[in-house]
Symmetry: C2
Subunit: 487 residues, 2 copies
């Protein structure tokens, strides 16, 4: 049976650590940051998604009697700890970058401030949800970009990595800019457009292709996209489709949203030939839809070759983010406040892998926009209590090569804090927009990117800078640990 309660959707080590903290009592309040290190598909940006489901997960957190019984059966948890779990709920603060926002590596996407046991438990599920949906929203955004204004339909449910990957993947794909999904359950759950016509089996279950087309056209004159590649696209499919369109016209039925779909073969060649045949028959306005192992690169290439396709159904490669199937988000301890302390003490994690060294402290992120164009100049990671005067010059520096500095003149830029409160003292203070509203937000967000950053291959990176204060803390911690500052 499907699990409704996701409280045990966590790595065992979260629970063994929780018991460890329970047995070594502490009043520590900690700050954890969820962030990622590398844009999917070597792109220039990513899209934040999944917050609505993270909120649901946090609100519903509770250990049921069955959960407690199961944990007891593992014989590693003591009765007093299991009793504590019985009454567990989340009491901390969560800040997050809203869904649909353009995001960049290393900046905190979600910040959790909570007693250490609570902050630890939620790591795995929070990352699971954030990683999955941000990945697919990002991939969808790339595919939409490649299509240069043509509609992209999400068709991947059958190849998704399980039911949720289909359901929430389609949700994320809508956020990333798709115009609809084939997934009916996602349509029902999130009130997004559902699309689809018929399969090869429809054609094959009729005596011939013409009869099958005709039956379909009569049933759905308002959305009559005929799949033309069951037998032979140009010798059979397109001629039969034209015959049916013509007969429908003759019967006085106005065709709306009509056309063909090609699901195999060389899509550039076939679409151009099909267009010629359709146009010569007076159906030059027909939709020519394509679907067959598409991704952003193939769509880009087909468009460059002049393919006469104006509607794209993208399945496997979108719903699995083929080529880069994991977002790689991590959740790292950044600061600790002991019971009697006033301030958070910053914490850093070193690593043999330089890029895995974390940014310490209780932080936030500001986006620096160019006032004249509205485009993003850079993002600034700083301490949560830092303030900035946009009337004054700001010096930002390349985070890896700190000698490369740029001055942003006072008055030429605006600032926006990206992290917003989602939970305060365990209470949810945030209302998620609808998916179609988030999709609109995302469309506007993408307009804040320079085209150089949108490019599919080898894009220009957007700088994500550290404030002077944060940089000083990081350098000090690294020096204390006997290492040179690396960013």
């Amino acid at each position: 049976m499907r699990a409704l309660n996701l409280t045990l959707l966590t790595d065992l080590y979260e629970l063994t650590m929780m018991q460890g903290y329970f047995k070594n009592p502490t009043d520590q309040v900690v700050v954890f940051d969820a962030f990622y290190r590398k844009n999917p598909c070597d792109g220039g940006y990513a899209i934040a998604a999944g917050l609505e489901q993270i909120i649901e997960y946090i609100r519903d957190l509770h250990f049921s009697p069955d959960d407690i019984d199961y944990l007891r059966s593992l014989k590693i948890f003591d009765t007093d700890f299991l009793e504590y779990l019985r009454g567990f709920h989340f009491t901390g603060d969560i800040y997050a970058i809203p869904e649909g926002t353009v995001i960049f590596p290393r900046e905190p996407l979600v910040k959790v401030i909570a007693p250490v046991m609570e902050a630890q438990l939620i790591e795995t599920a929070l990352l699971n949800i954030l990683n999955h949906q941000s990945l697919i929203a990002t991939k969808a955004s790339r595919v939409v970009y490649a299509a240069k204004g043509d509609g992209i339909m999400e068709f991947g449910l059958r190849r998704a990595q399980g039911p949720d990957a289909g359901i929430y993947g389609a949700r994320a794909a809508m956020i990333g800019g798709c115009i609809g999904t084939s997934n009916v359950l996602t349509g029902q759950m999130f009130n997004v457009p559902v699309k689809g016509t018929h399969a090869h089996s429809w054609i094959m279950s009729f005596p011939d292709e013409y009869t099958a087309f005709k039956a379909y056209a009569r049933q759905y004159p308002d959305a009559c996209i005929l799949l033309v590649d069951t037998y032979d696209v140009l010798d059979s499919g397109v001629p039969n489709a034209i015959r049916v369109f013509r007969e429908m016209q003759e019967e006085g039925i106005t065709l709306k949203g009509y056309g063909i779909r090609i699901d195999s073969g060389d899509l550039a060649y076939l679409s151009k030939q099909a267009y010629k045949m359709l146009a010569e028959a007076g159906f030059g306005d027909a939709i020519i839809s394509a679907s067959s192992d598409l991704d952003e690169y193939l769509i880009d290439s087909l468009k460059a070759q002049g393919a006469k396709i104006n509607s794209w159904g993208v399945g496997t490669n979108l719903i699995t983010s083929n080529g880069h199937p994991a977002f790689g988000g991590v959740y790292k301890l950044a600061a600790i406040k002991e019971k009697d302390d006033e301030d958070f003490a910053p914490k850093i994690k070193l690593s043999e892998n330089v890029e895995k060294v974390t940014n310490p402290g209780n932080k936030t992120v500001y986006r620096i926009y160019d006032k004249a164009t509205g485009k993003i100049r850079a993002d600034l990671i700083c301490l949560a209590d830092e303030t900035f005067d946009t009337g004054k010059d700001m010096i930002i520096f390349d985070p890896m090569a700190t000698w490369k500095k740029t001055k942003i003149s006072g008055g030429t830029y605006t600032l926006r804090e990206l992290l917003v409160p989602v939970f305060l003292k365990g209470e949810c203070v945030y209302t998620s927009p609808s998916v179609m509203e988030i999709r609109d937000i995302c469309t506007k967000e993408k307009k804040t990117l320079w085209s150089e950053t949108m490019r599919l291959v080898n894009p220009q990176e957007v700088y994500v800078d550290l404030s002077d204060k944060l940089y000083a803390i990081k350098s000090r911690l690294l020096e204390e640990m006997g290492q040179a500052a690396i960013e």
Copy 2:
């Protein structure tokens, strides 16, 4: 909220086609085959998985009042069709290859025989489940193979493509041969071993690494794996771990299942150095566990370099099947029986892409084993009612190059029909084994493969042949369609 009822987990076109059939009444009973075309990761085989969840899905199929209301709101479905859906349930037959079985391209993994509307509706969810779990079971089997007997732990939940990808991905990974998962919910749902110790945050929340190790060791003396790379593996992590192991010994506490985990850096170098230090301190039997972007190729390479790792935690690349994130299973109409017909009429789907041409007819699959070794000689796809005498010679031929024939002498082989009944007339007649039982089945199944087929790179393909009868039908249909036989 999480969806419990997966009936709408389907592509819209399944429903538009269903209404099409409803409006063009037919008594057709059809045969659909689910099969795949290419082994994941260019491997020599795959592992079937997901049947238990397919059974649950079929048993629970029903359109709730909310589902009907939602479909009505789309304004493409008529009242009579919606009324029909209200009473819908599955009444057909389903045959499937049991979970854990070694499988090859082009053979039917699931065969559905049902009225066309029922067979059509279930396509999407059936493929979704089958594709996902078979993919991950196959990837896990490859990783387990690379580890040459060392235990593989599934650690990927946080990078999985949503909750189900974590839950059922871990289930499939266990079937493929993992010894445990970090995913507590999967442990609870499927009664499989759960594993895990602590994260970097545990170390960082104590004043120093030694104190953190000591607290952990006291709490979990029976499963004390210390993560040694928070600061510096060889200068800090391993010496502190040794100090703690020694102190525990001195306190008279017997350490069981103790050791270290390395999560970054060069795993070959660090593990060899760490082993040396541990062995010199008298802890040569310590577990040395590694986790850090592992997959079958890296494990193979690390082992070839003599890495002293004997336990592997594999996350992202396993749970997403990185490099090949979709199984590519399809569901194709193979035969139709009209109301008054006695037999099924075979159906074929042509395609511009040669490898997409389907095998027609109501079929089954036999596995041909070598009697002496128990290894697989070939698989044979044939008509469901064909019988074979294992006392007689069998001629099998390369499915692509049909002039390449092999004679299997009578008496030297055994046959096993791979498809077993799962539903008959809508009633489930199959009981799924437990996941650990399926894992045992899979272990035995892998022993029926020649080592040449198990190889990670460029393995020998196992022949999947067509029977003479089936080949004749396929050739006839292709000729009727004016095309030459291609397999």
